[in-house]
């Protein structure tokens, strides 16, 4: 079924197709229309699901943990400060190994209050044990939410999965989406079968104290699960292509990388913008390619290392800052390339708090990097340096 809608509504349809049993969410700001649309679908009888509106995001995740522990398919949605408020329970969901899927609409963190897009919210939850996927189009969001349940519930993984997409650029913009048929989704995503659950007939204890004798072993098993998730993500993407006929890449989405001397690495909607920049740079004669990171956790360490081998210049775009070092994606790409690539790796921190970054900005900054004009590895290409400085070649902020 084809429809033209905003990404938040598209997610609700993907959740319906995934036959989710329980949705728990805080329905007020920074919540998005994902939950509105799900409650409408339930209300109109289009979706057989229990919706629990709770009083905070902390409670939303607590209720979701409780629901998932009873062995049902569980889903939630949040954004920015809501995600931050869940922080403690994100560790709990991953630590007691509960499969569930949550979408996070990527927004900047305050202060100052800013509801626009960057990746700071989810990057700040990087080390909670959740699988983190990033999408770049409405169609990919719909397909990835369905894939996310497969990944999360795979016996080799059994970790919660966070599907991230950019606020406003994707969340509130309209685009055409081809929703898969229910029978195809059912073939791809069988009913959830849990290996354990809370059950009055067979009582058990989970999430209780773990002494120093065992704690490291439990944490190691989570690291193993993340490592296993690489293959599971690949297989899920392949089988989705076979059954439903669409493919958005596995851990990486590659564009013109094979003959490229230079590479742009990015996540989310800014990667779509980079694709246009790549094509423009190609026209100018620069052999540039694009690697869009779909899976930030697990990180595609080997794929990035293989891709960077023999490359001359690599530009990593970050819509986030790990204050005190640089962009989070940049540090991961650099560490993956260690000992494997001689490329000069540059970081562009840009698009924070919803600042628009056009393909022209990306193309210009990348060209400067290729020509060796950048003196420092970490650059802020859209930063206003003084009152005479236009923030971009587009002149997005007029001189007052």
């Amino acid at each position: 079924m084809k429809l033209v809608d905003i990404a938040n509504h598209v997610v609700a349809h993907a959740v319906r197709l995934a036959r989710v049993d329980v949705v728990s969410a805080y329905p007020i700001t920074p919540q998005t229309q994902v939950i509105e649309e799900i409650s409408r679908l339930i209300d109109e009888g289009l979706m057989d699901c229990e919706y629990i509106p709770v009083e905070s995001e902390h409670s939303a995740m607590a209720a979701l943990i409780g629901a998932a522990a009873t062995g049902v398919r569980a889903f939630s949605a949040t954004s920015a400060h809501g995600l931050a408020y869940m922080h403690e329970l994100l560790h709990w969901a991953a630590g007691i190994r509960l499969p569930m899927v949550m979408v996070n609409v990527n927004r900047a963190m305050g202060p100052g209050w800013n509801i626009w897009c960057d990746h700071q919210d989810s990057i700040a939850q990087r080390d909670t044990g959740w699988v983190q996927l990033y999408c770049a189009s409405h169609q990919e969001i719909a397909d990835t939410v369905i894939q996310a349940f497969r990944i999360s519930e795979d016996p080799r993984v059994i970790l919660p999965v966070m599907v991230n997409y950019d606020a406003f650029f994707l969340s509130h913009s309209y685009m055409q989406v081809d929703l898969p048929e229910q029978e195809d989704v059912d073939r791809f995503l069988p009913p959830f079968r849990t290996s354990w659950k809370l059950d009055l007939e067979h009582p058990l204890t989970h999430g209780s104290v773990i002494y120093p004798d065992d704690y490291e072993e439990v944490r190691f098993s989570m690291q193993q699960a993340q490592d296993n998730a690489r293959e599971v993500i690949r297989v899920a993407a392949e089988e989705y292509r076979e059954i439903i006929g669409r493919y958005h890449g596995d851990l990486l989405d590659r564009h013109l990388v094979n003959d490229a001397d230079h590479l742009i690495v990015a996540m989310g909607s800014i990667a779509s913008e980079s694709r246009v920049a790549v094509d423009q740079l190609r026209e100018k004669g620069y052999p540039v390619g694009l690697a869009r990171v779909r899976s930030f956790r697990p990180f595609p360490v080997e794929e990035i290392a293989a891709l960077l081998k023999g490359k001359k210049t690599v530009v990593v775009l970050d819509k986030d800052v790990s204050f005190g070092i640089g962009g989070a994606l940049y540090t991961e790409v650099k560490s993956s390339a260690y000992g494997k690539s001689q490329a000069q790796i540059y970081n562009f921190i840009t698009g924070l708090g919803g600042r628009d970054v056009t393909y022209k900005v990306i193309a210009k900054a990348t060209e400067e990097a290729i020509k060796g004009k950048l003196r420092k590895p970490i650059n802020w290409p859209t930063l206003r340096l003084n009152e005479h400085h236009l923030i971009s070649v587009e002149g997005m902020v007029k001189k007052r």
């Binding site: 190994r97 989970h206 004798d213 439990v218 098993s221």
Partner: protein
């Protein structure tokens, strides 16, 4: 020291599948002070039994309130609350 299982052999996410096995863990070995009752002062009022936060005091067959040293952590609340001074805390190492 007993051999500990490798990471693969630990219950998934450290789930405890046998309910009620907290009983096997004897918290009495946390104790550094031991409560001791003087039968000549005890009036069997049961105040210590009411106050014990670990339910480690029980009434014995003679009606006295005895301490279950397997689970008594030696907090001393019983000795503090006893209105008749019948319970004293004694160093475990003595």
């Amino acid at each position: 020291m007993a051999e500990l299982p490798a990471w693969k052999n630990i219950n998934f996410a450290c789930i405890v599948f046998e309910p009620g096995n907290a009983r096997e863990y004897l918290t009495g070995d946390w104790r550094s002070l031991r409560p001791e009752r003087d039968d000549s002062k005890c009036v069997k009022c049961g105040e210590c039994w009411m106050y014990c936060p670990d339910a480690a005091i029980y009434q014995d067959e003679r009606g006295f309130y005895a301490v279950d040293y397997d689970y008594c952590k030696g907090c001393g609340i019983c000795a503090k609350e006893c209105a008749h001074g019948a319970i004293v805390m004694v160093e475990e190492c003595e």
